[in-house]
Symmetry: C2
Subunit: 226 residues, 2 copies
DNA sequence: TTAAATTTTTAGACAAGACTAAAAAAATAT
DNA sequence: ATATTTTTTTAGTCTTGTCTAAAAATTTAA
């Protein structure tokens, strides 16, 4: 049970909390100052400063020289921001016809808008989506994700069939490459052949057969048919 | 003709620019430091500081002791923020079913989101609305308003008929009062009688006759039928 | 198990934006 | 025309979030 009086968390604090969350397995594992600095493209000394403030505010656990993890409140803050980010992404793609490679930047701004009511009404307006446009799960108000079982296309066996449900790398360039190859979320994909030489993968996707590099196939998630 | 390379304008700067715009007839008339301070609930010294920065960035004209007005770029910045604010308000009311008295706060945050594409797509998604939920006009990308001819209900003559198209005071309490009286934007209103004693107004609205105080009738805009 | 390299923290500085208190300018009143 | 009041600006301080450079702690290597 946690107090409903949510503390004022600044945008900058939210961004640090997000980084800690993503780097340390939902913020449970302690992460290093340097790792955060790299991820956020800032200096280690800035991280130390901020991390102290987060600890002061009871959002993070911090022991000098031993890294940072999130408290329960910190974790809830993180999932709340992630929830907002992903719901806005759905809005941008589904309602405003953005393409999936151009939503991230805008969602980075929208995720900091403070209004419980807004995000819950948005959720409803979007039909309570379970995943964002890249297949990443959207947590509910309590921070719970509905975990779907997916596996990397690269790790599937020959003959395996499944639905393309997510990407590991959601950089604009990779997403644009997938667009160019006419590979979209929801496509049915079958693994035909693994080339030992260069670890490329031959797959079929809606009838046509194409070859994917190792790099590509290890950035695509499939939900295997059972 | 103005350069397309929009300078980085901070949220705080945008808020000052908005205030100057609203206080000084579209920012053309110079406004005093104190007026801005009062409107923004801040101190005059803070205003002086900021106003210097705006002048430095070519967003405002500022002469010591003589007030501030906006430059062409400043005015365009203002209308851009107003455009965003009002479009987001339409979104909140039309799409997310917010009521018209609870959108302002959230729109105050959303108006600072930086993305030309976002706001133009939102405009399209909303069907290019011409007014916000309070009847205030939404400027186009170039900062042009389509002016509608409206007049205060209080200033109408007995027998006049018109459509309720806007409010002067858009405080939550006034809007909630209108809701309670079942007076909504778009209603057809007819002036029946002006009480000299207390300057109250008797009107008919969709058949029923009600009495409005002077304060109320001087906060309601009508578009008269011709 | 010391020495070297790396990581992390501290100390001090800076910019943005706000504040208080005091000085300067302008407006108002006698 | 001068005194008083009001407005505006300046000067100095504070907080947030960042940085650089140096010190301290930890890890890695010899």
């Amino acid at each position: 049970m946690c107090s409903k009086t949510s503390i004022l968390v600044t945008q900058s604090e939210e961004n640090y909390i997000k980084a800690i969350y993503h780097l340390g397995k939902q913020g449970v594992q302690p992460v290093s100052t340097n790792a955060i600095a790299e991820q956020m493209e800032t200096k280690a000394s800035s991280v130390t400063d901020m991390v102290k403030k987060l600890a002061e505010k009871n959002l993070a656990n911090y022991i000098k020289y031993q890294g940072v993890s999130l408290t329960e409140i910190g974790r809830l803050t993180a999932t709340s921001v992630i929830r907002k980010h992903r719901l806005w992404e759905v809005f941008l793609v589904d309602k405003l016809n953005f393409s999936w490679d151009e939503v991230h930047e805008v969602a980075e701004q929208l995720e900091h808008i403070k209004s419980e009511k807004l995000i819950n009404k948005l959720d409803e307006f979007l039909g309570f989506p379970k995943t964002d446009p890249h297949g990443d799960p959207i947590p509910d108000k309590e921070g719970n994700f509905t975990k779907i079982s997916k596996m990397l296309l690269w790790e599937c066996n020959i003959g395996d069939e499944g639905i393309f449900v997510g990407v590991e790398d959601s950089s604009a360039s990779f997403l644009q490459y997938l667009d160019k190859q006419h590979i979209s979320l929801g496509d049915k994909i079958k693994v035909l052949y693994k080339e030992e030489f260069d670890q490329s993968l031959e797959i079929s996707r809606s009838g046509t057969v194409i070859s994917l590099s190792h790099k590509t196939s290890s950035n695509i998630y499939l939900q295997k048919k059972k």
